[in-house]
Symmetry: C2
Subunit: 589 residues, 2 copies
């Protein structure tokens, strides 16, 4: 089937005189998760991972993805598609591949709407090194993909101030003040989460991210929201009017942009598409800066923080209940990766304010745990028997915020090696959470706190230590992160970041442990403003997998303190046998 | 006296219609240490610190310096010069001060030869915000400073390949290859250490840095060395000829630059002066990049590494001998900060290949230790009695390399607080030295390893954790460093970096402990190339100041392993009572 699709695409490429065609996994908004309409790369290659780009020529087909997906891609890709393991030695990057493999004077084609401007420019330059051209005005899969799903158009709804903590008009004023500083006439915003945050609306057009498809153009006088009219009811229309938001049709944004003349346009070229940026008239001046809303929405306000803490307690109750069920029943009742994930989803649904999962649950038994972003499907769904590890990375959206938690559970006997690994991951997680640091530090400075126990042993994990988490928005939110190599944002009070080291032993097991951390101000003294993290996640680490003798005294104290906090946070919601179990699961070691 | 100098300068400023005059502590080469001719800021303000800039207006005089020098500046500056503590809240930076205090349409003046191009541009912009102008063609202190020392003109000498490890022609070829990559016709090099490294020459025109004053212009066909003819003997002239190096007079460089037409000029605007950059004709294109020699010289070659290890053993023998003498005699024979420093210098002079100190020895007793860059002078020279700490930060140049070591010694009774502090600093130093990390890490990633024990307690030190060290060049060498806030360079195999955490209690004492670390490649496995540090410095930490019970097991092991290595490295050079002492000073705790 993949073979036929590749053949069909190559026929279209020949007709259109494209020598190389590039298919990323993006939508028009640089969303991380995309609605089905945009899953062109998956349609073309069979690879279902959230990150990865296909490049097709007459002779070759390649897929580039990162360390999280190497194992999964190897399993899913047919032989005729070559896997390029990004980040490994001697594996060319995509631009390098274009430079080397586009034929002289050839044409590189991609849909300019699904490639951001920065990347599009790089691809253009790579093609130019072969004296080639680019063609970006067409989605060449349109004609081939007969059953392509329609663009999603779910109802938009308003997020009450009790949840958002800040009025839309105040947010608009703040963004306009920033525009003024930067002397911008127009601010183009295409990131769905930024628009939803700014307008205090939510929707349902993106898998796992409750936001509507839309674009936004902000000027001093106007706020124009380009959104599918079918997604708006009278309440939302009234709300827009009240807030002086002009509503226009989603697709009209492209025409609006073409009509800008002699304006100073503020936008983030790493987010806004190459198609849009290319269509801004030459008479305009572009001010290319990170969206100011990105930092504003990353710094949670007091209402959001209060809510987030509530959401996390509820979520923890569901996950603790799941842990009790799993630990009690694994090996004695039938369960699989999928059924366990479904059971956990049911427990979350029982919680007040739950609106949906924040990403596809990773429920990975034994060797599946080594596939960093494995998600079970019926064909791979493993039966959970009474041994080994089950890794569950999951999260929920609540009106009060979004959660992301990973626990790895011993569902029966585990070996000494497994315990040693689990204990190291646990110590790493708690080590970062305990970091105190001076204001000005970024995740780049702090990542070492989590990786030190790994690096010391010549080990590592091929993913970031942590990412920002949105408020009823994307579970992966910029700009805060714990990463040692990537660009960095100063850790600000009110930022929420995950802390999720892991170890992955291919063919054997995977262990990842993840808490969310709220950044807070500590003591201010002659040395400066100290900062620290407050833990938001309250679910026990699995003491059956802890080799307490391998912990240092400090690590042991941290673990015991954490478990005391877990007990204190969630025990009010438990009784009977579950409470007895919780007490034991959070005992001192 | 300072008062009269300020008055005289203000009279010149009035004549020349300058409303504000800026005096940095630099020479024509952005050297860190400058020869006496360039100590204009010291002449004007009385402040002797190596870093700091004076700004004078008709009404005010200010001095900006960083945390290392706050205490010292406060002591040395007269009341009429205000101290601006850089980095503290609400203290304006110099450009900010210019923006706020230059009068409307005023003139900001500075000598364009002693301000680098990047900074000069910023100052110009700051003046322009007041619709002001800049005047950069004059050193206004010239007429006032009657006894100004002449420009130094010490003999240049050739560094044999047995020490440099690489022929000049090979170094020139490598730089030319980099120029070709960057499509540069001319490379202008003004950093004295980079020129000395490239040409394998040394000199004596800069305090503590054995390099000659010179400029260099490199093209594909020519290597023109602008150097004082009085500094060259026949041997050096012959050597230049052999290596196809054209010698021209030092001052002719400015004319040479003005004569460049339609060339692509490679230079580092953060190093090359504003005066030089401004005089490059408009027909030229500037490629502004870090000097390629900076990275080349930071990565020591095998010959250099072998030599450096030898130099460090010799230096350690001198410092160990000093430690024995100090610990045996403090309190019973008369000694002062200065006499102790002189004693240590004598011990270094006994070592083979020693050519001079690599910086002014910091010998700081008791509360002087809290002044980060204190150096004793007769007026402050404290008698060392039998109690408290003596902090000694010192280093030597040897034909085989340059050393930099700090030890803090208990010269008698120390309190529990002092021991706890010493133990923390020692643990921090050993913690960073023990770091293993993946290739790609910079000092920004690793600094946390040293600061963690401080930050945990709400403490910090207001200086970098470490800096690169040159080979018979500057003891402070870019680009490698351990700093959490500053730009960063990847830690490469062959780089030498200091590891020097400290704690400073104003009015009480200071503790700093410093070793040098050589970066090496470790295991390469599925996770990547691991790196680690090899210790180069072999002098005991003072066990009289260690509270062993405050060390974790890991820290204790590290300390004992370090001391075993010290004993093994230097014991062959000791005998009798000294050897007995060394054995005890490196005992297990």
């Amino acid at each position: 089937m993949i073979h036929e699709r590749l053949l069909a695409l190559r026929r279209v490429m020949e007709q259109k005189k494209a020598d190389m065609y590039l298919v990323p996994a993006s939508d028009f908004h640089e969303s991380e998760y995309v609605t089905d309409y945009f899953k062109a790369r998956e349609f073309l290659t069979g690879f279902t991972g959230s990150a990865g780009t296909a490049v097709i020529t007459a002779e070759e087909a390649g897929l580039w993805t990162d360390g999280r997906y190497f194992v999964q891609a190897k399993e899913q890709l047919p032989d005729e598609i070559r896997l390029y393991r990004m980040g490994e030695d001697e594996v060319p990057g995509i631009e390098e591949y274009v430079e080397k493999n586009l034929k002289e004077h050839g044409c590189l084609a991609f849909d300019g709407r699904v490639v951001n401007a920065v990347w599009g420019e790089k691809l253009k330059k790579a093609a130019e090194k072969r004296h080639g051209t680019i063609k970006t005005d067409e989605d060449m899969l349109d004609g081939i993909w007969k059953e392509r799903p329609a663009l999603s158009c779910e109802p938009v709804w308003i997020l009450d101030e009790a949840y958002s903590g800040k009025k839309t008009c105040d947010k608009l004023s703040e963004v306009r003040a920033k525009m003024k500083e930067k002397k911008a006439d127009v601010h183009l915003l295409t990131s769905l989460c930024d628009i939803a945050w700014l307008l205090n609306v939510r929707g349902g057009d993106i898998s796992y991210v409750p936001v509507p498809l839309s674009f936004l153009a902000l000027t001093e006088a106007e706020c124009i929201w380009f959104v599918q009219s079918g997604a708006l009811d009278d309440a939302v229309r009234g709300y827009a009017e009240e807030n002086h938001i002009t509503v226009r049709e989603y697709q009209e944004f492209y025409e609006y942009v073409k009509g800008l003349e002699e304006k100073t346009v503020l936008l983030d070229r790493s987010v806004v598409s190459f198609g849009i940026c290319s269509s801004i008239p030459d008479s305009c001046r572009i001010v290319d800066e990170p969206d100011v809303t990105a930092l504003m929405k990353a710094i949670k306000n007091e209402t959001e923080i209060t809510n987030i803490k509530r959401a996390h307690i509820r979520d923890a109750v569901a996950v603790c209940r799941f842990m009790y069920w799993l630990k009690t029943n694994a090996g004695s009742i039938p369960m699989t990766e999928l059924s366990a994930a479904q059971y956990l989803e049911r427990l979350r649904k029982e919680q007040e304010g739950f609106t949906g999962l924040s990403f596809e649950t990773i429920s990975a038994y034994k060797e599946h745990g080594a596939i960093v972003h494995y998600a079970p499907v019926p064909e791979t769904d493993a039966a959970i028997t009474g041994q080994g590890f089950l890794l569950v990375d999951s999260g929920g959206h609540y009106l009060e915020g979004t959660t992301d938690i990973t626990r790895t559970f011993a569902v029966g006997a585990v070996t000494g090696e497994m315990k040693a690994d689990y204990t190291m991951v646990c110590a790493a997680c708690l080590n970062l959470a305990a970091a105190r640091f001076l204001y000005g530090c970024t995740g780049k400075n702090l990542d070492f706190a989590a990786r030190e126990p790994f690096w010391e042993k010549g080990l590592d994990y091929k993913h970031g230590t942590g990412h920002g988490v949105g408020y009823l928005l994307s579970v992966h939110e910029r700009p805060n992160a714990f990463r040692w190599r990537k660009p960095e944002a100063v850790m600000e009070e009110g930022m929420v970041t995950t802390d999720e080291p892991g170890i992955y032993k291919e063919g054997k097991y995977g262990i990842r442990l993840e808490n969310e951390l709220l950044c807070k101000k500590g003591e201010k003294n002659e040395y400066g403003q100290f900062m620290y993290f407050e833990n938001l996640t309250f679910v026990p680490f699995d003491l059956d997998a802890i080799a307490a003798e391998k912990l240092t005294d400090t690590e042991r104290e941290r673990l015991n303190e954490y478990h005391a906090a877990v007990y204190s946070a969630v025990s009010p919601y438990f009784s009977g046998e579950e409470l007895v179990w919780l007490k034991d699961a959070t005992r001192n070691v």
